[in-house]
């Protein structure tokens, strides 16, 4: 809080010296333009306020009171400071003969404070300073933030396990939240003396502090349980950039250099592990610090022959870090097992290069086209580390040499449009993309997209946009011969088609209507349909993974009225999304790597007749979302403006699961992120006179959440045998109990001065 206040006051101080010192003489009259326009009845001289800087603005102060009812208020407070207290805002403008300044601040002293200062000298330079605070609430104690650990907020979490009763010490409550502060500024020099050259500098700092819900597997098997870990956030990202360029109506070129340093004061988290015994420390890694620099060159050439423009951009960036590799990890025993890395330090280095060009042309009036090219390369030359530690799975099962991931994307495309008349345009697009990546399954993929779009505004009051596109992606599949035989676990990889790069046929349709049949009446409609049909790897059915998905959404709105007196708006939206997928359950395996037992021979071939230990299953994940909303702006009286808003939003999720021969007896999931939210907001703004304005408002919100993963939430899942209960899972309440109901009242008094 103190930091927010100091920052806002510091920014205000930039304005105060300007206020005190800005006693400027009258500037000379503006020069006449070369093409003398017809004389107006009164041609004004150059405007120059008498007596120097002219100030006007607005100061507001008020309060907010929230009466909330919730076990865990995090969803109410997620991105807003809803705590009872003072609301405030300041708006300040200064205008002088040569200079100007604008300042705005709101919610001073609150966790969602904001300020913006911008100013400059006309036709000379401009500057800005800004600050934006956000307390991202993730979960609040004592129900949504509870842990048996001491040291929450630090990178050392200690306790004595077992701790099965979450309502007695050592369990304690705390808040999960990410306190985010953004401060930044810019300065740009651009005036008639250096024009068309310009120079610009930007600085920015993002600071994040708090605690976020981490977790970790306790042991080496899913059956060993897990533990929620309140992990510390102490990040700072400092970014600065300088840019210089040349900019005219015909040509622009700019060179930008950026440097960004991300610092995390806690890159390791030490925590008492409840599984291995002895209450020893285990270690989790957190986000590593890193350095990034980037150079960009942008340019455009306009007014080329054929009414054409050529634009391009080249960038190069380098991201580096250096991370010490842990020499030992807690393991069964309990012992600290050496990891034996091939080097003590991981040297991370990722370089990206991009080249983009676009040529747009309108050679004859009804015809226009655009050609474009994009190239993006991510080259990961980080050090390659090999681990030699059999008891940590190297090289028994895992690929124990790191695989720096690189990829390249090339994209070529063309778009052409024809205007049948000025309001009627038909366009077509053809786009080709090719990906090369360090992936075992799909080392490369090619993708074609064809599109048609029709835009029509022939009728004055009606605008139509209709589009269809078809995408076809075909990758090279490198695992067609994976695995020696169907008892080899690698054999399954032949059938797994990872949807981000697998064979895909996609169809998309879009329709947008904007209709204003009479003054002050507007209708809007947007319809969207997308269907993804994923194909098996060539000659290798069935596909394991996502097979199909579909999304369709329909949004409609109607608005009526004169904004100067009364205007109302209604909207409705409905959306259906589903994902189909197919998988294989394989449990009758033994050894490491796990090979099929005699009870399930050829278990890794999904075409093998099913048995209770190896069978296929499929699922459909469904989301259905509705929204209804209305808004009102009503100039009820000359001095009274009423604003209202009401929203009802519902999401409904569920999953249907079926298996071969109903093995495993899968049951549907009826509640998968099912929510409803009601928000009502009403306020009146009364202008008492030219100076004073009063606002009074009230709001109501209710949020309900139901999900199989959180309904009936508990803080411990006991496992293992007394007295140690090794294998018990310990939870923190993160994201649990988000339901709330709140009544909010607020008021504000504003004073305008000029």
């Amino acid at each position: 809080m103190g930091t927010r206040l100091l920052a806002i006051l510091a920014a205000s101080c930039f304005a105060v010296p300007a206020i005190v010192g800005a006693q400027e003489p009258a500037a000379p009259a503006a020069p006449a333009s070369p093409a003398t326009p017809p004389a107006s009845a009164a041609t004004p001289p150059a405007s120059e306020p008498e007596g120097g800087f002219k100030w006007f603005g607005n100061v507001g102060i008020g309060g907010i009171y929230t009466d909330w009812n919730s076990l865990n208020k995090w969803k109410l407070f997620e991105y807003r400071d809803m705590s009872n207290g003072v609301l405030s805002n300041i708006e300040l403008h200064g205008r002088g003969g040569r200079d100007y300044v604008d300042f705005f601040a709101e919610n001073i002293g609150r966790t969602d404070a904001f300020f913006d200062l911008r100013g400059g000298r006309y036709n000379a330079f401009k500057y800005s300073l800004y600050g934006n605070w956000l307390d991202h609430a993730l979960s609040f104690g004592p129900y949504g933030g509870r842990s048996p650990y001491f040291g929450v907020g630090t990178n050392v979490l200690t306790t004595t396990f077992p701790a099965l009763n979450s309502f007695v010490p050592p369990w304690n409550s705390f808040d999960f939240e990410n306190k985010r502060r953004v401060l930044g500024g810019s300065f740009e020099l651009s005036n008639i003396y250096v024009s068309p050259w310009y120079a610009r500098a930007d600085v920015n700092q993002i600071r994040q502090q708090g605690v976020y819900p981490g977790s970790a597997a306790n042991g080496t098997s899913p059956g060993n349980g897990f533990t929620d870990l309140p992990a510390p956030i102490d990040y700072v990202t400092n970014t600065w950039a300088v840019e210089g360029g040349y900019s005219t109506r015909q040509a622009q070129v700019g060179i930008n250099f950026l440097s960004s340093k991300f610092t995390n004061d806690n890159t390791l988290l030490f925590w008492t592990n409840p599984f291995f015994g002895g209450n020893n420390y285990d270690i989790s890694t957190l986000a590593p610090s890193s350095d990034l620099w980037k150079i960009s060159i942008n340019g455009a050439l306009r007014q080329l022959p054929g009414n054409s423009t050529l634009a391009g951009r080249v960038t190069y960036s380098q991201l580096t870090n250096s991370v010490g590799i842990l020499g030992a990890m807690l393991n069964t025993g309990p012992v600290y097992t050496p990891t034996n890395p091939s080097a003590p330090t991981f040297e991370g280095k990722v370089e990206t290069t991009s080249v983009t060009a676009s040529f747009t042309s309108n050679p004859v009036r009804p015809f226009d086209y655009r050609l474009y090219f994009n190239y993006y390369d991510r080259a990961n030359s980080s050090s390659t580390i090999t681990f030699l530690s059999p008891t940590l799975g190297c090289p028994t099962r895992s690929d124990c040499t790191t695989l720096p991931f690189s990829y390249t994307r090339q994209n070529y495309g063309a778009e052409a449009g024809y205007r049948f008349n000025p309001q009627n345009r038909l366009s077509g697009t053809i786009d080709y993309q090719h990906f090369d990546q360090d992936r075992r399954d799909y080392p490369n993929a090619s993708q074609w997209t064809y599109g048609l779009q029709w835009r029509n505004s022939s009728i004055d009051t009606l605008g139509i946009l209709a589009g269809i596109s078809y995408l076809q992606r075909r990758p090279e599949f490198a695992l067609a011969n994976a695995g020696a035989n169907a008892n080899d676990p690698l054999f399954l990889e032949r059938y797994v088609a990872r949807y981000d790069l697998s064979n895909l046929d996609q169809t998309r349709l879009r329709l947008v209507l904007d209709w204003g049949p009479m003054p002050f009446l507007d209708f809007g409609l947007e319809a969207y349909f997308k269907y993804n049909d994923f194909q098996p790897n060539p000659n290798l059915a069935p596909l394991l993974g996502r097979t199909k998905d579909q999304r369709q959404e329909y949004y409609g709105s109607v608005s009526y009225g004169d904004p100067q007196s009364l205007r109302v708006t209604f909207f409705g939206d409905i959306e259906w999304i589903w994902y189909d997928s197919q998988h294989r359950t394989i449990n009758n395996v033994t050894g490491d790597p796990p090979v099929c037992t005699a009870a399930s021979p050829n278990c890794y071939n999904p075409n093998t007749p099913p048995n209770s230990g190896a069978f296929n299953w499929n699922a459909r994940n469904n989301d259905k979302n509705w929204a209804l909303g209305t808004g009102l702006d009503w100039q009820a009286l000359t001095r009274l403006l009423v604003k209202g808003s009401a929203i009802w939003y519902r999401t409904q999720g569920w999953a249907d699961i079926a298996s071969q021969n109903n093995f495993g007896n899968p049951m549907p999931i009826y509640s998968y992120d099912t929510t409803s939210r009601v928000s009502v907001n009403l306020k009146g703004i009364y202008s008492y006179d030219r100076h004073w304005q009063f606002t009074v408002g009230t709001a109501f919100e209710q949020y309900r959440y139901s999900d199989i993963a959180y309904n009936g939430y508990q803080y411990t899942i006991p496992a293992g045998t007394p007295p140690n209960f090794f294998g018990t899972s310990y939870l923190s309440g993160a994201y649990a109990f988000p339901n709330y109901r709140a009544n909010i009242w607020y008021a504000m008094a504003n004073y305008k001065f000029f």
Partner: protein, 336 residues
């Protein structure tokens, strides 16, 4: 002294300092009837408005507070002396007979977008943020400057220029009085209005993330007019903790954040496209738990409390899903 009281005292000191300083420069209030409006300040217009004001007073009152009306800046319409004619064309014939003779340049819905934008670009084409206007989707799709910008309205707080907001605001209670960009963008991009209302969303409605933090409406060479060369480079400008480099990487994470996430809004936590574990199982199939289904009888009691389904599901154990610097199989499987 408690923190709230300290905050209030500090605010009062700041307000007092500003008010005392301004008191020396206070001007007489303008002669206008008080209208109930939002809490925007109302400055003095330039001393002598153009003749156009005799009929177009309403258009003038807001315009006079914009940078376009600054006479001392020789780049502006009023700095050049052309006044309203700088955008609307030669007024000679219109002044002779305003009813019969329209202004040469009008900004009607039926006017070609390129023609309307061309008026603005006649001065602003050299602005650095318009470098890629011709290549952007808005120019191609017939969106003109005045579709979004309201040139005759004073800039709202913390904004360089006023944006058009056609309809009343429909949103939950928020603590900001600023005019937020999404209210303009969602007039055309209607689905986005619905998306940002979903339970998991970027704080766009709350005024903490702007559309222009990710997109450049003035044109960009990247897909979807994003501000960076790739989606991942864009996301990591704010989420720098995800940029690594990591010893053990998760390739789909490094290639495209949108493989798993929806940037505008989702019914699922963390803006995920699909519910976990199903999202993970769409790529990961293997013996034992990766390929096992988790169904309706495995939630909390009376269900089986399966740790692969309850709470954060796969992420309960595989927490470092964006990459890990842990050694051996601890990093390979993102469990540390």
């Amino acid at each position: 002294m408690g923190p709230r009281l300290l905050s209030a005292v500090a605010w009062l000191c700041a307000a007092a300092a500003i008010l005392l300083t301004l008191r020396a420069f206070a001007q007489a209030p303008p002669q206008s009837t008080p209208q109930a409006t939002t809490t925007q300040a109302t400055p003095q217009p330039p001393d002598e408005p153009p003749v156009c004001v005799k009929c177009h007073k309403e258009a003038w009152e807001g315009f006079a507070q914009t940078k376009h009306a600054v006479r001392v800046d020789p780049r502006t319409p009023f700095g050049t002396g052309r006044d309203c004619q700088a955008c609307h064309g030669d007024a000679t014939e219109h002044l002779k007979n305003p009813v019969k003779n329209s202004m040469p340049q009008r900004f009607l819905p039926t006017t070609l977008a390129a023609e309307k934008s061309g008026v603005c670009l006649s001065c602003h084409a050299g602005n650095r943020h318009l470098t890629f206007w011709d290549s952007g989707r808005h120019a191609v799709n017939g969106v003109s400057c005045n579709n979004c910008h309201n040139l005759h309205a004073p800039p709202p707080p913390a904004a360089a220029s006023a944006l058009k907001q056609r309809d009343p605001t429909v949103s939950p209670y928020v603590n900001t009085i600023r005019q937020l960009e999404y209210k303009t963008c969602t007039v055309c991009h209607m689905q986005i209005r619905s998306a940002i209302l979903k339970p998991s969303h970027h704080p766009i409605m709350e005024g903490k993330v702007r559309c222009t933090d990710c997109h450049n409406p003035h044109g960009a060479l990247s897909e979807r007019m994003v501000n960076n060369e790739s989606i991942n480079d864009l996301c990591k400008t704010c989420h720098a903790d995800k940029r690594g480099p990591y010893m053990f990487e998760h390739p789909p994470v490094e290639q495209n954040c949108l493989t798993c996430h929806n940037s505008h809004g989702s019914a699922h936590n963390k803006l995920l496209n699909e519910k976990v574990p199903n999202l993970c199982q769409d790529c990961h199939d293997w013996s034992r738990h990766p390929g096992t289904f988790y169904s309706g009888n495995q939630g909390w009691p009376p269900g089986a409390s399966n740790t692969r389904l309850i709470a954060r599901s796969c992420l309960n154990c595989h927490n470092n899903i964006h990459g890990s610097n842990a050694p051996a199989n601890r990093g390979q499987f993102f469990t540390r």
